[in-house]
C-alpha cells in the first residue's frame, strides 16, 4: 500500500473547532456533540467509528452542510480562503453541497424513475466540471448497466450507482453514511473497493461513517466517537485493501 500522508503533504480541508450540537427531543435536551476539535486533510480517507448515538452522523451532517453546530466553527477550505459552514445561509449551503460535496447514503436513495445513467446525470447536469456519467459508472464497474432502472439492479449495484453519482461531479469531499450498512459482506467489499479507488485515483477527501470496526483498517485515520466526543484518533500505518478486511 501507499505510504501514509506526511504532514508536509497535508492540505487542510476542514477545520472544526469546539463544535457542539444540542437539540430538544421532546422534553429531553440531547447533547449530540460536546466540543469536537478536528482537522481533515486533502486526499485523506477517514473513518468515523462509534456506537449509535455517539454523534458520528451529526458530525457528518455538519460536514455535509445539512446541519449547523449549536456552537463552535466549521471551516471548509484552505486557511486563507475558507468559509464557515456554521454561519452559512441556506443558499450558500446548497451551493456548497452542489459543487463541493458528494454524498453516499446508507439506503442508496436513487431516483426510481431514472436509469443508472440518468441518476448520475441528474448531478452532472448541475455541476461545474463533472466527468461524464458513463465514465463515473465505468469507474465503479457499472459500464454495462447504464440503462437499468434502480428496480432492475441489486443492492450493491444500486450503491455503486450512488457512488458514481457522488463522485461524478469531481467533488472535494465524499461523505458516506454507512455505505455498506444495507449490504452483505461480498457486496460490501465491492462497494468499498469502489470508494477506495475513487479516493486514490481522484484524491477525493473521503469520510466514511460505520459501526463496523473492520472497515476502519482501510482508512488513513480512524476517529472514535463516544457520547459526542472524540475519544481516540488512530492513524493506520498501512491501509488494507477492502479484500483484506476482516468483515
Amino acid at each position: 500500500m501507499d505510504r501514509p500522508l506526511q504532514p508536509e503533504d497535508k492540505k487542510r480541508v476542514f477545520h472544526i473547532k469546539n463544535a457542539t450540537k444540542t437539540y430538544q427531543m421532546g422534553e429531553v435536551l440531547v447533547h449530540a456533540l460536546r466540543g469536537v476539535n478536528l482537522d481533515l486533510y486533502r486526499g485523506e480517507l477517514t473513518v468515523l467509528l462509534g456506537a449509535s448515538g455517539s454523534g458520528k452522523s451529526t458530525l457528518l451532517n455538519i460536514l455535509g452542510g445539512l446541519d449547523a453546530p449549536t456552537e463552535g466553527i466549521v471551516l471548509y477550505g484552505p486557511p486563507d480562503q475558507s468559509i464557515d459552514l456554521s454561519q452559512a445561509k441556506e443558499d450558500e449551503l446548497t451551493d456548497y453541497r452542489r459543487f463541493n460535496v458528494g454524498f453516499v447514503f446508507q439506503f442508496y436513495n436513487l431516483i426510481p424513475s431514472l436509469t443508472a445513467l440518468e441518476n448520475v446525470a441528474v448531478v452532472t447536469e448541475i455541476a461545474e466540471s463533472p466527468m461524464t456519467p458513463e465514465d463515473a459508472l465505468k469507474l465503479v464497474g457499472l459500464g454495462k448497466r447504464l440503462n437499468h432502472f434502480p428496480a432492475q439492479l441489486s443492492g450493491g449495484e444500486q450503491q455503486r450507482v450512488a457512488i458514481a453519482r457522488a463522485i461524478a461531479k469531481n467533488p472535494d469531499v465524499l461523505l458516506c453514511d454507512e455505505p455498506t450498512g444495507a449490504l452483505d459482506s461480498k457486496t460490501g467489499i465491492m462497494v468499498l473497493e469502489a470508494l477506495q479507488k475513487v479516493n486514490k485515483e481522484l484524491g477525493t477527501t473521503t469520510v466514511v461513517i460505520t459501526h463496523n470496526a473492520g472497515i476502519a483498517q482501510m482508512a488513513d485515520r480512524v476517529i472514535h466517537l463516544t457520547d459526542g466526543q472524540i475519544t481516540e484518533i488512530h492513524v493506520n500505518e498501512t491501509c488494507l485493501s477492502p479484500q483484506e478486511l476482516s468483515w
Binding site: 452522523s57 446541519d67 446548497t94 460535496v101 431514472l114
Partner: protein, 773 residues
C-alpha cells in the same frame, strides 16, 4: 392532512350546496307559484276576441266543464311618464270596482282599490311603478282611444297573470318601457265602446273537465266575435316563462352535483389510498395485536365519514343560504308577492345520502385492501416503484429533456389513470366556470341576431286597425323618420300533419331592410312572391320540410284557411314566426293594400321628438322601441349574471383547489424522500420544486383545453335543454368565458403551489440519510 380533509370537504360542500340550492329553490318556486295561483284564482283558460256582448258570457258559462268565468276589457295603450322620454306602453285591464277581480286577482301591495265612477284612477303594476319611482297620488298620461288622458295612481299591485311582464313582440321584461295597469271597468268600457261588451275572457275549469274540449267549444263560440284562439294556462306567456325557468333549475340540480360528487369521490379515493399506504405498518401492527379486518375497515370508514359529514353539514348551511338568495332573486324577477322558502327534509336527506354513498364508493376499494392486508406483509416495505421509459422517449426524443423533466414525464406515465383523473378533475373545475359565463354570451348573441341583424327598426308603430298602406306617407312626413316599412300581422294557427302551433303570420316587404330574414350562416335571405319562410325551430317542431304545404288557419277577420308552401327557414332565437310577402298576404286575406303597423328607422337626434308625434297619432296604439328595452333588460340581468358568475367561480375554484392541492400534498408525501435526497445532492429548492410542481403544472395545462371541450359540451347540453318555442339558446362562448375559467384554474394552482413551496423549505434532509423507503 387537516387542510387536505378541508379541501375535500369543500368539494362535498359545493356538491351538497348546489343540490340543495337548486332543488329547494325549485320546490319553493313551484309551491309558491301554486299557492299564489290558487289564492288569487289564476284562470285555467284565456281567450281574446274583438268584441262580444255580455250575453255571450252566459253561453260560455254553459260550456260543460267551465267553473267560474270573468269577462274583461283589455287594451294596449301608449303612456307618457314625466321625466322619461323613451317610448312606454302598457296593457290596461278592466277591474270591477272595489274588487280585486274574480279571477287572476291582483295582490294590492300599496294604496287602495278602484272606485267605480272614476275614469282617471288606475292601479299600477308594482314593478312598473318601482322602475319609474311612481307612488300613489302620482299621475301619468295615457293615450286612450286616441285621446290623451291624465291618470292618478291609487295603488300598486302584483298579478299572477303578469309575473313575467313582457310587451308584445319583446323578448324579455323591461319595466321601464312596458307596464300593466288596471282601471275600473265602466270608464274603460265606455272609452273603448265596450259598454255591455267584452274583448277578453278568463275562466276556471271544474274538476275533471277536459281542457281541450272547453277550448275547442270556446273557440267555436267566440269565432263570430273575432276570437283569436283560446289557450290553456300552460300556454299563458307569464306562466310559460316561469315554467321554463323551473325546468332549468331542475337541469342544474342534476348536472352540477354529478360533477361535484364525482370529483369528491376521486379525491377521497386518492387521499385515503395514500393515508393507508403511509400507515401500512401501523395497520399491520394493529392487526398483529388482534384487531380484526372490520375494526381496521371501520377506522378508515370513520375518517371518510367524518370528512363527508363535515362537507354535508356545511353544505346544508350554504345550500339553504344560496337557496334563499336564489329564491329571492326569482321573487324579484317574477314579482311574487311572497316567497315561501321551503326546505324539504327529503332533499336534505337525499343530499346527505348521496354524499355518503359517493364517499363510500370512492374509498371502498382502498379501505377493503387495507383491512385485508396480512400483518407480515404490511410490516415489509412496499415494493419499489417500477418505471420505464415513456412513449415520447422511446420515440427518441429524450435528449431534449433534462433529468427532472424525465422524472415528471415518467411519473405521469407510470400512473396514467391517476394522472387522467387528476386532469379530469381540473378540467371539471374549468368547465363548471364556463357554464356560469355562458348565459351572458348566449344572451348577447340572441340580442344581436334578433335586434341588430333581424329586426333593424328603431321604432315599431302598431295601428289599432289594419290601415291603408298610404298611411306610411304621414309617418314618413314626421321629422326624423328616415324610412318606414309597413307590415301586415295576423294571428294564426299553423298546422302540418297532426302537429299545430299558435303563432302569427307577418307580411313584410320583399326586400325589407328593416326586417331581414337570415339563413343559418346569418346571411340575408330574400322572401319570394309565393310561399312562406318560417323560423327554423318551427320547422323542426312541425317536422315540416322545404317544399311541404303548411296549413294556416287565420284567427282574424273572415278566418280563412290557407295552404302555402314553405320555401325556406330563417334563423331566429326568439319566438316562432311565419313570414310572407305583405302583398301576397293581403291577397290571400282578400283585403286591400293594408298594413297593421310600420317598422321605422329614425334619426337618433329626433327620436324623442318623433316618438311624441307618433304617439299622438290617433291610429297608433303603441310604439315599441327595442334599444331602451334592451338596455333595461341588461340592467336587471346584470345582478343575476353576477350572482351566477360569483357562484360558479366559487364552485370552480373549490374544485380546482381541492384537486390541485390534494394531488400536490400527496405527491409531496410520496416523493418526500426522493426530493430531500436531491436537495442533499445539491439541487436548489426551486429545482426540486420544478419536479413536483412541474408535473402538476403540466397536468393543469393539459386539463384546461380539455376543460374547455367539456365546458362546451355541458353548455351545449344545457343550451339544448333550454330550447323551446319561446326562445332558443345559442351556444356562444365569448373569449372572456374561457379566460376567466382558465385564470381561476391557474390561480388555484398558484395558490396551492405557494402553499407547497413553503413545505418544500422544510424537507428533512437529515432524515433521508437514515430512513429506509
Amino acid at each position: 392532512m387537516r387542510l387536505q380533509a378541508l379541501a375535500i370537504a369543500m368539494v362535498i360542500v359545493s356538491g351538497v350546496a348546489i343540490f340543495i340550492m337548486s332543488l329547494s329553490t325549485y320546490e319553493s318556486l313551484y309551491e309558491t307559484r301554486e299557492s299564489y295561483y290558487r289564492d288569487h284564482h289564476f284562470a285555467d283558460v284565456f281567450a281574446s276576441l274583438k268584441r262580444a256582448p255580455l250575453s255571450v258570457a252566459q253561453r260560455i258559462q254553459e260550456i260543460p266543464g267551465v267553473d267560474k268565468i270573468e269577462t274583461r276589457v283589455v287594451t294596449y295603450v301608449n303612456l307618457d311618464v314625466t321625466g322619461y322620454d323613451n317610448p312606454v306602453s302598457g296593457h290596461l285591464i278592466s277591474l270591477p270596482s272595489q274588487s280585486k277581480g274574480l279571477l287572476n286577482q291582483i295582490f294590492l301591495s300599496k294604496g287602495r282599490l278602484l272606485e267605480s265612477a272614476r275614469d282617471d284612477e288606475i292601479i299600477l303594476s308594482e314593478e312598473f311603478a318601482d322602475a319609474h319611482q311612481l307612488k300613489s297620488g302620482d299621475k301619468l298620461k295615457a293615450t286612450i282611444n286616441g285621446r290623451s288622458k291624465t291618470l292618478t295612481i291609487v295603488g300598486t299591485a302584483l298579478s299572477p297573470e303578469y309575473m313575467y311582464q313582457i310587451a308584445p313582440g319583446a323578448m324579455f321584461p323591461d319595466y321601464k318601457s312596458y307596464g300593466v295597469m288596471w282601471m275600473a271597468r265602466e270608464p274603460l268600457a265606455s272609452a273603448y265602446d265596450m259598454k255591455g261588451a267584452f274583448n277578453d275572457v278568463a275562466l276556471t275549469l271544474t274538476k275533471g273537465a277536459n281542457e281541450q274540449d272547453v277550448i275547442d267549444q270556446l273557440d267555436e263560440l267566440l269565432k263570430p266575435y273575432g276570437g283569436i284562439g283560446a289557450y290553456a294556462r300552460k300556454d299563458q306567456m307569464s306562466n310559460r316563462f316561469l315554467t321554463e325557468d323551473l325546468k332549468q333549475l331542475q337541469n342544474q340540480a342534476t348536472i352540477f352535483p354529478i360533477i361535484f360528487f364525482g370529483v369528491a369521490a376521486f379525491l377521497l379515493n386518492v387521499v385515503i389510498s395514500r393515508l393507508i399506504a403511509l400507515e401500512r405498518e401501523q395497520i399491520a401492527v394493529l392487526k398483529a395485536f388482534g384487531y380484526s379486518n372490520i375494526d381496521i375497515g371501520l377506522h378508515y370508514s370513520k375518517l371518510v365519514l367524518m370528512i363527508t359529514a363535515l362537507g354535508i353539514l356545511v353544505g346544508i348551511g350554504f345550500g339553504i343560504w344560496m337557496g334563499k338568495a336564489m329564491s329571492n332573486l326569482y321573487m324579484d324577477i317574477y314579482s311574487f308577492p311572497f316567497m315561501h322558502y321551503l326546505i324539504n327534509p327529503a332533499i336534505i336527506a337525499s343530499a346527505a345520502l348521496v354524499s355518503i354513498i359517493v364517499a363510500i364508493l370512492g374509498t371502498l376499494f382502498s379501505v377493503k385492501r387495507a383491512a385485508k392486508l396480512p400483518p407480515a406483509q404490511g410490516m415489509r416495505p412496499e415494493q419499489p416503484a417500477i418505471y420505464k421509459q415513456t412513449l415520447i422517449e422511446r420515440l427518441g426524443l429524450q435528449q431534449h429533456f433534462s433529468q427532472p423533466s424525465r422524472m415528471i414525464l415518467r411519473h405521469i406515465e407510470r400512473r396514467p389513470f391517476k394522472s387522467l383523473l387528476t386532469t379530469l378533475g381540473i378540467s371539471m373545475a374549468c368547465s363548471i366556470m364556463m357554464v356560469g359565463g355562458f348565459q351572458e354570451g348566449a344572451i348577447n348573441e340572441m340580442i344581436d341576431v334578433q335586434y341588430n341583424m333581424t329586426q333593424r327598426e328603431d321604432f315599431m308603430a302598431i295601428y289599432a286597425e289594419p290601415t291603408s298602406q298610404r298611411s306610411l306617407y304621414s309617418l314618413e312626413s314626421v321629422q326624423g323618420i328616415e324610412q318606414a316599412e309597413g307590415f301586415r300581422y295576423v294571428n294564426a294557427r299553423v298546422i302540418f300533419e297532426h302537429r299545430s302551433y299558435r303563432t302569427s303570420v307577418t307580411g313584410v316587404e320583399p326586400n325589407s331592410e328593416l326586417m331581414r330574414l337570415l339563413d343559418n350562416d346569418l346571411k340575408k335571405i330574400s322572401l319570394p312572391k309565393e310561399g312562406i319562410i318560417i323560423t327554423d325551430y318551427l320547422a323542426e317542431l312541425l317536422h315540416i320540410k322545404i317544399g311541404d304545404m303548411l296549413t294556416i288557419e287565420v284567427l282574424e277577420g273572415h278566418r280563412p284557411t290557407l295552404q302555402v308552401p314553405v320555401v325556406g327557414t330563417a334563423k331566429q332565437y326568439i319566438g316562432l314566426n311565419v313570414y310572407i310577402q305583405r302583398e301576397t298576404l293581403n291577397h290571400l286575406l282578400k283585403e286591400g293594400d293594408v298594413i297593421s303597423g310600420a317598422y321605422l328607422k329614425v334619426d337618433e337626434i329626433y327620436q324623442q321628438q318623433a316618438y311624441r308625434e307618433l304617439k299622438n297619432m290617433p291610429r297608433i296604439v303603441g310604439v315599441v322601441e327595442q334599444e331602451s328595452a334592451i338596455a333595461g333588460f341588461y340592467e336587471t340581468m346584470d345582478n343575476t349574471i353576477l350572482f351566477f358568475t360569483f357562484i360558479t367561480t366559487l364552485l370552480g375554484a373549490s374544485i380546482a383547489f381541492g384537486v390541485i392541492y390534494n394531488s400536490l400534498r400527496i405527491a409531496l408525501s410520496e416523493r418526500n424522500r426522493e426530493l430531500a435526497s436531491l436537495r442533499v445532492l445539491g439541487l436548489k429548492r426551486s429545482e426540486v420544486a420544478y419536479i413536483l410542481l412541474g408535473e402538476q403544472a403540466l397536468l393543469t395545462l393539459i386539463a384546461i383545453p380539455i376543460g374547455f371541450v367539456i365546458g362546451i359540451g355541458i353548455c351545449g347540453y344545457l343550451a339544448m335543454k333550454f330550447n323551446n318555442d319561446l326562445y332558443r339558446v345559442p351556444l356562444v362562448l365569448e373569449a372572456d368565458v374561457y379566460a376567466l375559467a382558465a385564470l381561476t384554474v391557474i390561480l388555484s394552482s398558484i395558490i396551492s403551489a405557494t402553499m407547497i413551496w413553503r413545505n418544500l423549505a422544510h424537507l428533512d434532509m437529515v432524515a433521508v440519510l437514515k430512513a429506509k423507503e
